[in-house]
Amino acid sequence: MALLSPTKPAHARGGPDRPPRRLGLSQRLGRLDVKISPYLYISPFFLLFAVVGLFPLVYTAIVSLYDWNLLGGQGDFVGMANYVAVLQQPLFWKSVVNTFSIFLFSSVPQVIMAITIAAILDQNLRAATFWRMGVLVPFVVAPVAISMIFGRLYADQYGFINEVLGLVGVDPVAWHGDRLASHFAISTMVNYRWTGYNTLIFLAAMQAVPRELYEAAVIDGAGRVRQFFSVTVPQIRATVIFVVITSTVGGMQIFDEVRMYDSQGLGGPNRDWMTTVVYLYDVAWGNQKSFGRAAAVAWLLFLLIVLIGMINFLLTQRIATGGGRGPKVSRRHTKRLLAEARAAAASHDGPVPSAAPGGTPGAGQGSPPPPPSIPPVRPPAGPQSPNPGEDVR
């Protein structure tokens, strides 16, 4: 390509005054080079994606349409029968509920803890690198090792936690008998492992926030907490979205911790803590040995993750923008609107609504203001209104 490139300017120079004599092979190649090279440069990712991403997805979809035994291989085409069979299994739905429950117990506290720790680490600490590296230590520990240690902690009869509870006179918790307790226990393993990792991602984003913003906030009289919510969180919003989505995907695919939580690794005698991925594993490699059904489970799980990921994405976007400038905007906006409403009411010689001193939309709704003022008061609370954004600009 380097050899071809000099021919190009020559062609362009002779272009306008005389017709091109003929297009040589090198020129043609040159033109091709311009058109195709960019795609070639970015192709490695897409080729890799096609091999390790797209192909398994499509192949899984094909497998899910067949009666496919682990050992026997491909069988008859059965259409959607595998999906129907899976959706009719009560165990599938139980595993979905378990997955959600464990996901909520793990991802929500995990993200909150991670962002809090990151905010603390973002301050001027002594030996900052030591602390920052320290939070990553749990991530380096192998999940199986974590599960073994936590298994000892959470054992029902001779577990460390129940022993400690016994010392302070609390009844032992049935970590393997009570459904919610088992979800909590598994979530702590997940949190132990992933909080530090997410903290570092948050920290990296926080370091990139321009310091001038904090200076300006300090001059404006904002305290630490206010700085955090009004400067830090809005500035790292993209990272929050990233972390929420990755932890959603991870949270919906919890496997190791469940496999190691008891000796059979299938969610206990009642399948009380069997996640959907473990269910998938059991369908494919357990007693059913049905790759077809397992592929159907994989696809259903994929759709579920996309759905939850989308919901989380929309939620995160709302919270991050709302948390950043929501209060400031809405208060000023509300005050102005209330002033207008008062003026309008005065001109109507009605009673002046003296309510809404705080100016929050909720308080405004509580007292009955004159009819025409209601619609403008409400929008700041809703995300669907374009008003707040325009107002700021």
Partner: protein, 444 residues
């Protein structure tokens, strides 16, 4: 200022979707891989005197040491043996089934299998070489287990698991019960021991000491159900029986749970779980069912505890729990040479050496009564003559139960049912109903 850095929402949503999709795909693709303890046996499939490499894949400890395998290499200079060991039988099973599913690529020339995987593998006998029969080497039922209805032998037997009762002599003594090996065997019922007499002895102990008699109802049930000729399926057709009307299993279920819950004989520990392991150190129970290979795990967990012993008795006649086979996957390049090696590895002389190395009780008839086996003494088990006891126990095993394609699926549900009661205190009848429903869902 902030909003100006914000792209339009719709594009963001699309980007997020793509992001989630690719992440899910990548993670999904990763999770499909399993650990891979096997290596490729890369023989050339040429004549027998050519240089070949044979791979033997086993799990846990088969007692196949380097020195033992070196003997074969000495006799066959053209053969190099590679021995691959998986830490757990579960890993080996996943490895085997995954590679069989992939057409046999990457399998070892000899793959060890556990008796529990036989029913699933027997459905696809063409995946394994048909091994030439060797008359009179093994106990009959061991050969029957690995023979398909069409008469193909898919594996050569290595060890078996004759069951006895392991007990804590110190705990029995403290409770004022018999504690000497012969006394305990007699107390539990001697030659005519039944499950009733075993549980009766348990009641005496539990009343005197207030402690549990056995470790887990599910483990005890395992021993009971292994004595049924055909627990969950019709041996003639292989069709699964309806669990709701399966009275022989229900009777055992009721019997073991009455003993476990009403008579309070069970320590309520899930076998192989963390509590179970800790129970050995906490004097949680006095006796347990004890296949020959169980002495290893007991020693591992009980460690410094002194007083473990073996009683030469087993309720309800003889019982076998576990045991393994060597198979030769048909896809291998050197199946003939591999068959020869499997033959050698399961020969009485070699299996005796393996027994001395790791305590796996041989399935070969002639060495079960050999001096080497009979002389074996287990120091940890208070110096019990383990070789002699298990040789006697092996005599009383009269056959292997029928286990078809659905055996383990149904059995797992019944085990879950027992655990729900034994571990979590659920009502036995309700738990049985659940097991019946769940079993219906897993039958193929």
């Amino acid at each position: 200022m902030l909003s100006s850095t914000r792209p339009r929402r719709s594009r963001r949503v699309a980007a997020a979707t793509a992001g989630i999709a690719s992440l899910a795909l990548i993670l999904g693709a990763c999770s499909g891989d399993s650990e891979d303890p096997g290596t490729t046996g890369d023989g050339d499939g040429e004549a027998m005197d050519e240089e070949i490499t044979l791979t033997v894949a086993t799990f846990n400890d088969f007692g196949y040491t380097e020195e033992l395998l070196a003997q074969y290499a000495d006799e066959h200079p053209n053969v190099t043996i590679e021995h691959v060991t998986a830490a757990e039988s579960g890993d080996a099973r996943t490895n085997l089934t995954t590679k069989l599913a992939a057409g046999g690529e990457g399998l070892a020339d000899i793959e060890a299998i556990e008796v529990d995987w036989l029913p699933e593998l027997m459905q696809y006998p063409s995946l394994f070489a048909d091994l030439p029969t060797i008359d009179g080497r093994w106990v009959d039922w061991k050969v029957e287990q690995a023979t398909t209805p069409e008469g193909q032998l898919i594996g050569y037997g290595t060890d078996i698991g004759p069951e006895a009762i392991c007990y804590r002599s110190d705990l029995l003594e403290a409770a004022g019960m018999p504690s000497e090996r012969e006394e305990v065997a007699e107390w539990i019922g001697g030659e005519g021991a039944t499950w009733e007499s075993y549980f009766e002895a348990g009641k005496e102990y539990t009343e005197a000491s207030g402690d549990a008699w056995f470790d887990s109802a599910q483990a005890t049930f395992q021993g009971m159900v292994n004595q049924l000729d055909a627990a969950y399926e019709d041996p003639a057709t292989g069709e699964p029986l309806d669990l709701a009307t399966n009275t022989q299993v229900k009777d055992l279920y009721d019997q073991v749970l009455t003993a476990a819950v009403e008579d309070d004989l069970s320590a309520g520990l899930e076998q192989w779980g963390d509590d179970w392991s800790a129970g050995f150190q906490n004097d949680a129970f006095a006796t347990m069912l004890c296949p020959s290979w169980m002495t290893g795990p007991i020693e591992e967990r009980a460690g410094s505890i002194e007083g473990w012993d073996i009683a030469d008795v087993f309720p309800g006649g003889g019982g076998n729990w576990g045991g393994s086979f060597l198979t030769v996957p048909a896809s291998g390049a050197n199946t003939e040479a591999a068959t020869e090696l499997a033959d050698w590895l399961t020969s009485p002389e070699i299996q005796t050496q393996a027994f001395e190395n790791s305590g796996t009780f041989p399935s070969q008839i002639e060495v079960q009564q050999s001096d080497e086996v009979l002389a074996y003494v287990n120091d940890f088990m208070s110096g019990a003559p383990a070789g002699e006891i298990f040789a006697t126990r092996a005599q009383s095993i009269d056959g292997a139960p029928f286990k078809g394609a659905n055996y383990f699926a149904i059995h797992a549900e019944v085990q879950n049912g027992i655990n729900r009661v034994d571990l979590n205190g659920e009502d036995p009848e309700k738990s049985w109903e659940t097991a019946v429903t769940d079993a219906q869902n897993v039958i193929q």
